[in-house]
C-alpha cells in the first residue's frame, strides 16, 4: 500500500470535553501507533433480582 500524508495547517479554536475515562486518550500531537481495546460486560445474568448476596470476596 502506498500511503502519503501531507500535514497542512491545523488550527483549532476551542476544545471542550466533559470527561475522558476508562483508558481513553485525548491527544494533541502525533503518534506512530495507537492501539485501543475495551470490553464492557453487561449480560442478562448480571441483573440480579432478589435478596442481596455479596459478590465473591477479593482473593
Amino acid at each position: 500500500m502506498n500511503f502519503q500524508v501531507y500535514n497542512r495547517d491545523i488550527c483549532v479554536g476551542d476544545i471542550r470535553v466533559i470527561g475522558v475515562s476508562s483508558s481513553s486518550l485525548l491527544m494533541v500531537g502525533d503518534a506512530e501507533t495507537i492501539q485501543l481495546a475495551a470490553t464492557f460486560d453487561t449480560p442478562a445474568e448480571s441483573l440480579i433480582i432478589g435478596p442481596f448476596v455479596p459478590l465473591s470476596p477479593d482473593a
Binding site: M1, N2, F3, Q4, V5, Y6, N7, R8, D9, I10, C11, V12, G13, D14, I15, R16, V17, I18, G19, V20, S21, S22, S23, S24, L25, L26, M27, V28, G29, D30, A31, E32, T33, I34, Q35, L36, A37, A38, T39, F40, D41, T42, S46, L47, I48, I49, G50, P51, F52, V53, P54, L55, S56, P57, D58, A59
Partner: protein
Amino acid sequence: MIAMLQRIACVDHIKVDSVSFSSIFQIGDSEQICGISRAIAVQREAEIFYTNEGSFGAYPIFSEAIPFEPMTESLNGSTQNLNPVLKVRNIGIMGASSSSVVHIGNSRHISMEARVKHIRQLLPRRNHVD
C-alpha cells in the same frame, strides 16, 4: 530515534479540573504509553456495601484475551509536515479518570485497555408482571 520530523503541539490555554484513578496529564513528548483499567461497577437498589467483596478473578472478562489483528501488509509511506505546528487556542476538560491520558505532545506507541463488568442488584419485586 524519531524517524520522521514530528510536529510541535502549541496549546495557548488548557484547564483540567480533575485527574483521578491513575490518569495522566502529560505535557511533552513520550515514547510509550500503556494504560489498563479494570472495574467492577455494582449498582444496588438499597444502600448496602460490603467492604471485602469483588474479585477480578471471578469474572472471565478480566482475563480473556482481546484479539488484535497485527498489520501484515507492507506500508510504503511518507509524511510531509508542511506546517509543523498543531495549534489549539483553548482546551477545557472537566475530568480525566480510570487510567485515561490527556497528552499534549508527540508519542510513538500508545496502547490503552479498559475492562468493565456491570452488575445490578435489585430488591425483590412485590407485584411481578409476567
